[in-house]
């Protein structure tokens, strides 16, 4: 079980998650400081490590739309948050799986900041309101990558298989 630490509207862009002006910072170890930078209070709390790992950001439709910048995923992954959204933009979804950022597509999700959510294999339970919401399964094609622990180990094993 984990708390909703941020509740967002529809169409949250990668410019919002990781503003373009920090794009020269690329390393996953350095990007977390700029997460939601222009949401000043939230950014400050993230940096102060105010939230336990597994804390949840709830998004609306089309979460992560916009640019392909992978920093938008590594910046959240660095804080070990999970994203539950009504729908997720293609490249952001792909990047999340590739980097191992936990993302859950949950078209009906209703939750407010402070609610306690529990993510099961195919549902999200809002313990605070007592409501249950179905997840949409991630594309089947992504399973191999998730099972390998991300795209880097997956590619590494493919590369080694190619050599032998």
């Amino acid at each position: 079980m984990a708390k909703v630490i941020l509740k967002l509207e529809h169409d949250i862009s990668t410019d919002d998650i990781y503003p373009g002006r920090f794009m020269a910072t690329v390393l996953p170890t350095e990007t977390p400081q700029f997460a939601f930078f222009d949401r000043t209070d939230f950014n400050a709390k993230l940096k102060a490590r105010a939230f336990p790992p597994g804390s949840i950001i709830v998004g609306g439709e089309n979460f992560g739309c916009g640019s392909s910048r992978e920093q938008a995923c590594s910046t959240l992954k660095g804080h070990e948050v999970a994203v539950v959204a009504r729908s997720i933009s293609r490249i952001f979804l792909q990047n999340s799986i590739n980097l191992g950022l936990q993302v859950v597509i949950c078209p009906g999700i209703e939750a407010s900041e402070g609610d306690e959510l529990e993510i099961t294999t195919d549902q999200v339970l809002n313990r605070t309101t007592g409501q249950f919401f179905d997840q949409v399964k991630l594309p089947a094609a992504r399973k191999g990558i998730m099972d390998a622990g991300g795209l880097i180990p997956y590619t590494r094993s493919r590369l080694m298989a190619k050599q032998s």
Binding site: S13, R21, A24, S68, E70, G144, Y154
Partner: protein, 428 residues
């Protein structure tokens, strides 16, 4: 059941007789494009090789393109150092399709690829940039990926675990009225589909209007397909594609266009008649917040921007110059112009467009992404408004989260520069 263009391209690239939407394939990659974010790709690429005992070498240096455009010349020591590191990697790996910070062969990646004939019909193109959708204009299947996915492609030469996308057929008919063009069409379409209306899908463009459209216009519409969430936009290759590649890109070798089957399976067909279309404006802060120009006329504009991978091409500059020739940019409004490539910049100089624009008061900047993504130059002041021919208007996009960005065509931007407020070019 027949195949759509993208199904045909993916079947061929994956070595299969046929594929259908939803299948998982691993197509070979014909071109892998990055820009400054190659710095992250290189990092991830090296991580892939860690512990393997193998030397990190890209699968095929001739199929990798790296173009510096997002922050040229570098705006900070950090960017300059990233660029330096990328330059060293390019040299060590023998990557030839490299466009450094230069006034002869430099420019925005989505202009350089077509301009140098790097993309052909039927190719599979991946790019670490969401607007990689642009290259569907040349009949290729071209889509954006993240840096780690690119590192994987550099190592393996394939795109791993790709789901064949379903296709929406967009049929466009009618002749554009004066001062209305491809940008207005694509803004209108995004407004209709919404920002996620084509998520995980391809937009395949057909109809008499598309057949008559120049490659420049096709690049603009495929470029913005991603703003409806599309994996890619594509115009099946035709005579115009071949003409462009031969005459403008200087391609001499074989070009073979791929067309969809007559009985291809589309998830949806959208028909649009452009003969009665008004100039369209995408209003803050979403690209699908599209309105006919009438609804926003008179909005005060502090910064006019003409350029980018959407509308920084020669015809765009010609249209803007024609409107501004002998006129002045309004006091209290500044106008920034950044041609999409050095080649276009040179052509616009030769034709006098740059002179016209500068005499009118525009600041002409070097080719590159410039103010488009708000990291380099041309940031907005607090609460200021920009009217721009670029492709995104998200909060903070032009460098200031308190700013407002409206998107429009080059003729609307030019007409509005003269008045300092959003102005209908048909009535100015």
């Amino acid at each position: 059941m027949g195949m759509t263009v993208v199904e045909k391209i993916l079947a061929r690239a994956a070595g299969q007789a046929s594929v259908k939407a939803g299948d998982v394939v691993e197509p070979r990659v014909d071109l892998a494009m990055s820009h400054e974010n190659a710095a992250l790709v290189i990092n991830q690429f090296k991580v892939v090789y860690q512990g393997t005992g193998l030397e990190p070498k890209v699968w095929d240096p001739s199929k990798i393109a790296i173009i510096f455009d997002h922050r040229v010349p570098a705006e900070s020591p950090k960017t300059a150092t990233n660029q330096k590191m990328i330059r060293e990697f390019v040299a060590a790996n023998g990557i030839t399709k490299f466009h450094d910070v230069r006034g002869d062969v430099g420019g925005i990646c989505h202009q350089i690829l077509p301009e140098y004939g790097y993309v052909r019909p039927g190719c599979v193109v991946v790019g670490t940039d969401s607007h990689t959708t642009s290259h569907g204009a040349l009949g290729a299947f071209s889509f954006g990926v993240g840096a780690t996915e690119m590192a994987s492609a550099w190592a393996l030469g394939i795109a791993v675990n790709i789901e064949v996308p379903a296709t929406i057929k967009v049929v466009v008919k009618g002749e554009f009225p004066p001062f209305v063009g491809p940008k207005d069409f694509i803004l209108h379409l995004i407004g209709r589909l919404t920002a996620q209306g084509a998520n995980f899908k391809v937009l395949e463009f057909h109809g008499e209007t598309i057949r008559k459209m120049s490659t420049s216009g096709r690049l603009a519409i495929c470029n913005m397909s991603v703003e409806a969430g599309a994996t890619s936009g594509i115009v099946p290759g035709d005579e115009e594609t071949v003409r462009y590649l031969r005459e403008e890109a200087g391609v001499a070798d074989g070009i073979s266009c791929v067309s969809p089957d007559a009985d291809a399976n589309y998830v949806r067909t959208v028909e649009i008649d452009v003969s009665t279309l008004d100039p369209q404006i995408a209003c803050p802060h979403m690209v699908d917040n599209v309105k006919p120009i009438d609804q926003v006329l008179g909005t005060k504009v502090h910064q006019i921007v003409i350029g980018s991978c959407t509308n920084g091409r020669l015809d765009d500059l010609a249209d803007a110059a024609a409107i501004l020739r002998g006129k002045k940019v309004a006091q209290g409004t500044r106008m920034l112009v950044f041609p999409a490539s050095s080649k276009i910049f040179g052509q616009a100089l030769d034709k006098g467009y740059i002179h016209d624009l500068m005499k009118a008061g525009a600041v002409v900047m070097n080719s590159g992404c410039g103010p488009c993504l708000g990291v380099h130059e041309g940031a907005l002041g607090d609460g200021e408004t920009a009217l721009s021919t670029t492709n995104r208007n998200f909060k903070g996009r032009m460098g200031n989260p308190t700013g407002f960005v409206y998107l429009c065509s080059p003729v609307v931007a030019a007409a509005s520069a003269i008045t300092g407020v959003i102005t209908d070019p048909r009535r100015s």
